[in-house]
């Protein structure tokens, strides 16, 4: 099913990073934290409580879903992006792309 985002609002940076991290492959909580750290080059370090607060909201909005991984001994619960979550991430990337374009033009940085 194709999801179209009509009421896209700016997403917070942690949410963008979590969705981006899950866009390539499903992950469990600890791997997600590590990847968010790496994606942001150490700038965004989520605490465990913040991560699970965000996961809770994303699950409620059905942007991600939870499933049980069978091949790991410790971290069984993993998360993956849903079609709706992917559409939201696309919409956010489009918004940021547009913003970047406008700022680049206004600052006269084109081709810099």
């Amino acid at each position: 099913m194709r999801h179209v985002v009509t009421d896209a609002k700016p997403l917070s940076e942690p949410v963008v990073l979590i969705l981006t991290s899950l866009a390539s492959e499903p992950k469990h909580g600890y791997a997600l934290l590590k990847d968010v750290d790496e994606l942001s080059k150490g700038r965004v370090r989520l605490s465990t409580g913040t991560l699970y607060g965000a996961i809770h909201r994303l699950l409620e909005d059905r942007w991600i879903e939870r499933f049980e991984q069978e091949d790991t001994s410790r971290d069984k619960q993993a998360y993956r992006l849903t079609a709706r979550g992917r559409a939201q991430l696309h919409a956010e990337i489009e918004r940021l792309r547009h913003l970047l374009q406008s700022a680049t033009t206004r600052l006269g940085l084109r081709g810099a």
Binding site: Y30, S47, G49, Y52, G53, H56, D75
Partner: protein
Amino acid sequence: MRVSDFYRGLLLLYPADFRRQFSEEIVSVFEQRARDQATSGEPAFFAVEFVSIVKGASTMWLTKILSVKSELVPPEAPDTAGSFLTLAELAERRSTAIKNMVASIAKHDFINARQYSDEEVRLKRLIQNVGSADSVAESGTAW
């Protein structure tokens, strides 16, 4: 008392449904990070972790309380502002108000959250008024 026992105790601040869903997982991730921290030596690690639990739990409780409060508000005099909208439009606006309220709470913007909560209550009342007016009109009987 071990640090992870203290952390597990802090998780009791969260609503029960959240604890049932995530408690074990959160403690497991916290323990893995605490081991990492022992080698990397991040000084504020434990303080940040503990504070985030307290903040996260209060936000979650506030969200819950606000949603229950909107269900408990008693009906007042009929509100006619916005009654030119259809039921579907009113329902859509109410849904947007709820989303905005939750988003504001998540950002700890409680002033706006309160405004969205009031808006949601107003729209809910309007929906009830429009709904009852429609059912009277459909039945053709005024009691």
